[in-house]
């Protein structure tokens, strides 16, 4: 018997038992659907975070005191402005080094008030980070040197406090002190859930006095090119550790950050996909179960086919193809629904999704493999049926 014949016979058998075939496929459909959707959500999350990190700027090295712990909030470390100047000398170009000292404060304009992350920084910030302005100017060297009370507002802060009014030249009150607005940043969105549009930048020297904190949270360095990033990172850390013997310092690059976060997300995606894979496996068990029932129910048909000249192999092929058809058709439906679901989630919810070809290919191959794996036992049972016994069955 030709393969084509076996294929047609199997297809016919599925068509004839439409209801049962559909219900059997449902398990596989749900499994494949979950794999495709969960992987696309995981990949979407990873893409978004990568885009956010890349959006910070390029070739950035972040330096903090102590051992780096991704999970911990930035601590007020031992770094000082003198250390920042020293790092500038190590880098060989002070304009590529900027600093940060952060504190959550309430910003007021008249009756309006808005909670914001007030960041003390300096005039080198735009050399290191991509932080385009919407209006006004960045901090100047004089602002920092003379501890001017000037502020640059994040887009959301400006919008909440001033609405349609142009904030440039107007006064805001930060932690009880008056500041003059000199600039407004363009909208940049969030990074790691840090809403950068809710930041207010002020000169670091002003911030240190205002908050009463002599230290810095961190120093950021912009390397001149991708190849310089890692050697510079090592140089900065060892220079700082030489300057402060016995105290640890850490530096992390964008690439390392991306790598770490990417690994975590990949792991989460993997776990989710594995859970979905279990659903697929359960679907496979369902296929096996139904095929066994089907073999029993069609014992007389099998006996008849054998009496008419079907070999063991012909019957086995027929039932195996039936099982594989069940799972691959289920797989295709699951993929279509999964892709549709991912697109819908991406379009109608804030959850980003990104459909990957490999998850689709994998889901399809796994569903076909599930059909073979779970179809073999029932198909063998069908193939081995004794025609005499099978014909007598009721």
């Amino acid at each position: 018997m030709r393969r084509r014949e076996a294929f047609l016979i199997a297809l016919e058998a599925l068509r004839v038992n439409r209801m049962r075939s559909g219900l059997t496929m449902l398990g596989v459909i749900i499994g494949v659907l979950s794999v495709v959707i969960l992987v696309s959500v995981g990949t979407g999350a990873k893409d978004t975070i990568e885009r956010e990190i890349s959006g910070l700027g390029s070739n950035i090295i972040l330096v903090v005191a102590g051992r780096l712990n991704v999970a911990a909030a930035p601590t007020q470390g031992r770094l000082t402005l003198e250390d920042a100047a020293y790092v500038g000398r190590v880098v060989g170009d002070p304009s590529r080094v900027t600093v940060s000292l952060q504190s959550g404060e309430t910003v007021r304009v008249g009756q309006a008030e808005q909670f914001a992350t007030v960041v003390g920084t300096d005039h080198n910030l735009p050399n290191v980070f991509d932080r385009p302005l919407d209006k006004g100017r960045h901090l100047s060297e004089t602002d920092v040197d003379t501890r001017r009370r000037v502020a640059i507002l994040g887009a959301e802060v400006a919008d909440r406090l001033f609405g349609d009014v142009d904030p440039i030249g107007r006064q805001v009150s930060i932690a009880g002190a008056r500041f003059r607005v000199v600039g407004v940043y363009a909208t940049v969105g969030a990074t790691f859930g840090v809403a950068r549009d809710q930041e207010v930048h002020v000169p670091v020297t002003t911030a240190q006095r205002l908050f009463g904190l002599p230290r810095l949270n961190g120093i950021a360095v912009g390397a001149s090119g991708p190849d310089e990033v890692e050697p510079l990172q090592r140089r900065i850390v060892s220079a700082l550790e030489q300057r402060h013997p016995g105290e640890p310092f850490s530096a992390v690059t964008q690439t390392q950050l991306l790598g770490t976060i990417g690994t975590v997300i990949d792991m989460l995606t993997g776990v989710l996909a594995a859970i979905a894979g279990i659903a697929l496996l359960v679907g496979g068990v369902g296929v096996s179960n139904i095929m066994l029932v089907s073999v029993r129910e069609r014992t007389r048909e099998i006996g008849l086919r054998k009496a008419l000249g079907a070999r063991q192999r012909d019957v086995l092929t027929q039932f195996l193809i039936e099982a594989v058809l069940l799972t691959t058709i289920g797989g295709i439906i699951g993929i279509l629904l999964g892709v549709g679901g991912s697109l819908a989630i991406g379009a109608f919810t804030p959850v980003p999704t990104s459909i990957t070809w490999w998850s689709i290919a994998l889901a399809f191959c796994v569903s076909a493999a599930v059909g073979v794996f779970f179809g073999v036992a029932p198909a063998r049972r069908a193939g081995r049926l004794d025609p005499v016994v099978a014909l007598r069955a009721e």
């Binding site: 086919r305 008419l308 000249g309 004794d386």
Partner: protein
């Protein structure tokens, strides 16, 4: 060369460790073109004999030649092919595939012979016409009477042009009128086409259609008479 040749056939079943001798040494020859009836009460071993002659089962001992081929040396797949080419089956309960047209049912044996679809359907159509069902090609078993269903089954047995047609109680599920119509068809097939027909029955009046009566009792041939 005989169509079927059995020498001292023994078939023993083992059920839960107990041996049951269904056939205890049957020697029998069916010549091409013969019309024979195997008669016997239920439990006599006549069904077992038919299963052996139809290559659906293998003898415990003894020699069986079907179309001159010694069955003992064949693999299961070769046995299936031998069955497909030399034997046509007609069963008491018709054994048609439900939800499948008469034409497709009749063409089924040719599927396993690898005959291309167009030829298969042409031959199936001819076989159905020869049993007077040329107008029922696309009907399903459930849309036909018992007599018509059995005629479809006879067409299916014929389509592969076998040497021997084995009919197991072919009229058992039919009323007298349909039963005699089926017997008329079997008789004319035997006379016109020269197909050997072996009929298994417990009804003497059905067996009377055959020119030879083989009486089986307790796993042995009791009498073998020709009329």
């Amino acid at each position: 060369m005989s169509a079927l040749e059995a020498v001292d056939l023994v078939r023993t079943y083992r059920l839960d460790g107990v041996s049951v001798d269904a056939l205890r040494g049957v020697t029998l020859t069916v010549e091409p073109g013969e019309f024979a009836a195997i008669l016997g009460p239920s439990g006599s071993g006549k069904s077992t004999l038919m299963h052996l002659l139809g290559c659906l089962d293998r003898p415990t001992s003894g020699v069986l030649r079907v179309g001159g081929v010694e069955v003992a040396g064949l693999s299961d797949a070769e046995l299936a092919e031998l069955r497909n080419r030399t034997i046509g089956f007609v069963f008491q309960s018709f054994h048609l595939l439900a939800r499948t047209s008469a034409l497709e049912n009749v063409a089924l044996p040719l599927v396993y012979r690898g005959v291309p679809r167009a030829e298969r359907l042409a031959r199936a159509r001819a076989a159905l016409e020869s049993v007077g069902l040329g107008h029922r090609l696309d009907h399903r078993p459930s849309q036909m009477s018992g007599g018509e269903q059995q005629r479809v089954a006879i067409a299916r047995a014929l389509v592969g042009e076998p040497e021997v047609l084995l009919a197991d109680e072919p009229t058992g599920n039919l009323d007298t009128r349909n039963g005699s119509e089926v017997m008329r068809i079997l008789t004319s097939l035997n006379e016109e086409r020269g197909v050997a027909v072996v009929l298994v029955t417990h009804e003497p009046e059905i067996a009377a259609h055959a020119r030879r009566q083989i009486h089986v009792r307790d796993g042995l041939i009791e009498a073998d008479t020709r009329s």
